[in-house]
């Protein structure tokens, strides 16, 4: 009994100084927390984002930092599990006392962590969650990417104006909010522009045989097929469409869910001549983009995908807001973030609107022999 109470005293004695130094440590550093999927099913998303944000903070620090302080980034892995996102963000805020949070790519993860940031008055900037609900959590939650309704509309505009398509078929993943969202907004905009949706077929994430749907679509002979899914299914769909004799003059159209090196591995030549909407293009001749691509390649030995670019922009915008606010206080940074206007990011000129979403252009890319080639920029 005495031994146990002694142990308690010892533990308390050790814990006290630890508690004490928690707040005091941050005098010459600005602590930023980032949560992302560094392992598990969507690990490439988290790693790309982390690479991008790390690079951005390093650049700011080597230029002298802001407010006389340097940034320190703490990255926590949520193992590709939404419930884990809540746990690690709680730790970042309560234990590490971060002043702002960056994350996540997947909207379901962002939705798990956003209420925690909101409750603690800690600004959260999501680099690439496109589901509209994420920023509706509260006034401390921002994003630097466009949202699903815009992306669907972009492709509808492109199909009408550039491809001159009149009759389009849709093949949608009914199990994904992302895919259904894009379908809804594409259909709306395309009809408004005078086009006609001639067939709507569906599949479920994880399916691997799409011949039945594609046979029906082929019989209708559309000008193009909108497939707003994720790359695994899209690659298979492209391959099976061409096998069934849907000619390569009928392009498949899609969104940023296509953006993966795996897409070409699965679909191969069947994807040539297909189009997708995305956040940025590595071919963009603007010096800002070219410098980012060159620096990223030199540091990480690979071509940065859109997620890396958005991670970079999220970090830069956060730093910009803090320097404009002249403080790292949560409420002041929040107000500065909300006032962001025409910020020149790698992924375009970013303005934050009253719903805390980024208003910015999207690019349309064409698949050509395993590369995404820049076609045009569509502004909101």
């Amino acid at each position: 009994m005495r031994l146990r109470s002694l142990a308690w005293v010892a533990a308390a004695a050790m814990a006290l100084p630890a508690l004490g130094c928690g707040k005091g440590r941050t005098t010459d550093e600005i602590l930023i927390g980032e949560y992302g999927s560094l392992t598990g099913g969507i690990a490439t998303f988290g790693i790309s984002t982390k690479n991008g944000s790390t690079m951005a903070f390093d650049e700011i620090n080597s230029a002298g930092g802001i407010l006389g302080k340097k940034f320190k980034l703490l990255v926590e892995d949520d193992q590709s599990k939404p419930e884990e996102a809540g746990t690690v963000v709680t730790k970042l805020i309560n234990q590490n006392h971060v002043l702002a949070v960056i994350g996540q790519v997947a909207s379901s993860h962002s939705l798990a962590a956003a209420p925690i940031c909101q409750a603690n008055n800690i600004p959260m900037v999501s680099p690439s969650s496109t589901n509209p609900r994420v920023t509706q959590v509260g006034d401390y939650i921002f994003r630097v990417c466009f949202i699903d309704p815009f992306q669907g509309a972009v492709m509808a505009k492109f199909a009408t104006n550039t491809l001159k398509a009149k009759r389009v078929a849709i093949l949608v993943d009914v199990r994904s909010d992302y895919s259904v969202g894009l379908q809804t907004f594409f259909r709306e905009q395309f009809k408004q522009l005078g086009g006609q949706i001639v067939s709507e077929q569906s599949y479920s994430q994880g399916d691997s045989d799409f011949r039945a749907q594609l046979t029906q679509i082929k019989a209708i002979n559309p000008d193009a097929i909108y497939v707003p899914g994720y790359y695994t299914e899209v690659g298979t769909i492209a391959r099976q469409a061409r096998e069934l004799g849907i000619p390569s003059t009928v392009p498949l159209l899609g969104g940023d869910g296509w953006d993966s090196p795996k897409l070409w591995e699965i679909g191969g030549a069947a994807l040539n001549g297909c189009y997708l909407s995305n956040h940025y293009s590595v071919d963009d001749p603007s010096p800002l983009v070219q410098k980012f691509v060159a620096d990223y390649k030199a540091r990480f030995k690979e071509v940065p995908d859109a997620l890396a670019a958005l991670g970079y922009d999220a970090a830069k915008i956060l730093a910009d807001a803090m320097s404009r606010a002249g403080s790292t206080d949560g409420a002041k940074v929040r107000d500065a973030l909300a006032a962001t206007k025409d910020f020149a990011g790698v992924t375009g000129k970013i303005t934050i609107n009253k719903d805390r979403n980024a208003i910015k252009p999207a690019v349309v890319l064409k698949v050509e022999n395993g590369k995404f080639v820049y076609v045009e920029t569509v502004t909101p």
């Binding site: 039945a212 046979t215 029906q216 082929k218 096998e243 069934l244 795996k262």
Partner: protein, 298 residues
């Protein structure tokens, strides 16, 4: 009309995969009265063995010879796997109650699924193309070489199996064991050997199905056996479990009805229909389409 015929072809190529897997279920049920739930996972292992073998062949041009070698390799590996599963998992509990055997089967299935995720990795893998691709039009219906190969090879294997069961001594012994295991033993048939052969054959057919699906739909993952296994099981029950031609018929029926549902109704009902058919069959004709009524002797 063309669309309809095209859908029939799509259904036949999907259905022959179900049929090949269903054969393994039905054969094992025939000799052991066991629903071998690990069978769908043997099919998954077959697809992976095919994947690694075809990667080994990657330097060579796609040809039917290399496709043939890959398929034989996968079938041999899975036949061996079937033997090992039977020897290590099922034989020790063969005399125990039917429930023990069933639970063992579920255990083996979980072992293969999770072992597969550990060994092959949880991410999907993508089959390289094995055989040269070309397609031809028959009365405006497009047949791809993959679909033709799948349908052709499946039917060839099913005919070979039929010949094996009906014409050879071992086949005759299998039928005897299926009819009455104890009586067959009294007649001097080595039942252990016959059961082992049945497992090897069934697993080899599942491996063939795995490679064929890889040719047609290049995406494979360690959990792919679950839903295919379940549907093939439905096919076996539909045709009359224990009945070899019944399994083929059931597989084709499920494949065609699934494609028709997706094509003319909605993909959301795809699985509902397969299992709806199972419920209907169990209600109206519990012994299956070609199954015979078995009287329980007390």
């Amino acid at each position: 009309m063309n669309t309809f015929l095209q859908q029939i072809v799509n259904g036949l190529s999907l259905g022959s995969i179900y049929a090949l897997i269903a054969l393994g279920y039905t054969m094992v049920y025939g000799v052991l009265r066991l629903i071998n739930f690990a069978h769908g996972d043997v099919y998954m292992v077959g697809a992976y063995v095919g994947y690694y073998l075809s990667r080994k062949m990657a330097g060579r041009e796609p040809s039917f010879v290399s496709a043939f070698i890959v398929m034989l390799g996968a079938m041999a590996a899975c036949a061996l796997l079937g033997l090992v599963i039977e020897r290590l998992a099922y034989r020790p509990v063969r005399r125990a109650s039917r429930l023990t055997l069933l639970i063992t089967a579920i255990g083996v299935s979980l072992f293969l699924e999770n072992g597969g995720q550990l060994v092959f990795g949880p991410d999907p893998k993508f089959f390289p193309s094995l055989a040269p691709h070309f397609d031809f039009l028959v009365a405006d219906v497009r047949l791809t070489s993959e679909q033709t190969t799948v349908i052709g090879v499946s039917f060839l294997l099913m005919i070979l199996l039929r010949l094996f069961i009906m014409k050879t001594r071992t086949g005759k012994a299998m039928r005897a064991v299926s009819f009455n295991l104890d009586a067959a033993k009294l007649m001097g048939i080595s039942t252990d050997w016959i059961i082992a052969v049945t497992f090897a054959l069934g697993s080899a057919l599942a491996a063939a199905a795995g490679v064929l699906i890889g040719m047609q739909i290049p995406k494979i993952d360690p959990l792919m056996g679950i839903i295919y296994g379940l549907k093939a099981f439905v096919a076996a029950v539909l045709g009359g479990i224990g009945n070899v031609p019944g399994a083929v018929l059931g597989g084709l029926l499920i494949g065609i009805s699934e494609v028709m549902v997706v094509g003319y109704l909605s993909s959301t009902y795809r699985d509902a229909i397969a299992f709806g058919i199972l419920i209907l069959v169990l209600l109206l004709r519990p012994q299956g389409i070609l199954g015979r009524v078995q009287k329980e002797k007390v």
